[in-house]
């Protein structure tokens, strides 16, 4: 499955751009994270890395559909 993923904060600098295209064999959230860590090892240096699916934080075992809005959420720092 080919997925377009939204990027924010420091992940824009690490991956480049405001979105990135990822081709997944394992289309679970965990599969997406593993692929991202493989492709961009610098992501492993972050304090945390969460995935949001359709504007909600997603558990590792959630299966992503190609129609979902998917975003990488690096450590938040609002306020």
């Amino acid at each position: 499955m080919k997925l377009n993923v939204l990027l924010f904060g420091v992940t824009k600098d690490i991956i480049g751009g405001t979105t990135t295209s990822v081709t997944l064999e394992d289309s679970s959230v965990l599969g997406l994270k593993s692929k991202l860590f493989d492709d961009y090892p610098k992501l492993k240096g972050l304090n945390s890395l969460l995935i949001a699916v359709n504007n909600e934080y997603a558990d590792d075992d959630l299966i992503i559909k190609s129609s979902d809005e998917v975003a990488i959420i690096p450590p938040v720092s609002g306020g």
Partner: protein, 136 residues
């Protein structure tokens, strides 16, 4: 009133939005941009939000505050884009029949906001910039 905006925050408007004749206690938190972080001079900040999700998460905070504490109204506004020293990045206002609930709900809101709401802060220094909290 739950809002994310690039405009300068209007504290009065946020406070007025929670005014209620049944409420004796209002607590307000204003998070301002400091001129330094760990002693290093800050030029300005830049905030970025995952807009739709951030609004969702802010609404969850207001709903949870209302169900956890005896509060009547809560407003949260957060700024995005470039924010200068001394300007407000966030304003939270809570109205409750009694002050204890107002203080607790306001504290809960800012603490939770900092943990869950997808907003990112970049500190800009004379010699570089850094996304806050990204790295250990």
């Amino acid at each position: 009133m739950i809002e994310i905006t690039e405009s300068v925050l209007d504290t009065n408007k946020v406070i007025n939005s929670v005014m209620d004749p049944g409420c004796g206690g209002l607590n307000v938190f204003i998070g301002n941009v400091r001129n330094n972080t760990k002693g290093k001079e800050v030029v300005h900040l830049e905030f970025e939000a995952y807009y739709e999700m951030a609004i969702n998460e802010l609404q969850k905070i207001a709903e949870e505050a209302k169900s956890e504490f005896n509060v009547s109204k809560m407003a949260i506004v957060h700024r995005t884009g470039k924010v200068e020293i001394g300007e407000a990045a966030v304003v939270i206002a809570v109205a409750a029949p009694h002050r204890d609930a107002a203080f607790k709900a306001c504290r809960f809101a800012i603490d939770t906001l900092k943990q869950t709401v997808p907003i990112w802060k970049k500190e800009v220094f004379e010699d570089g910039e850094v996304w806050v909290s990204a790295h250990p």
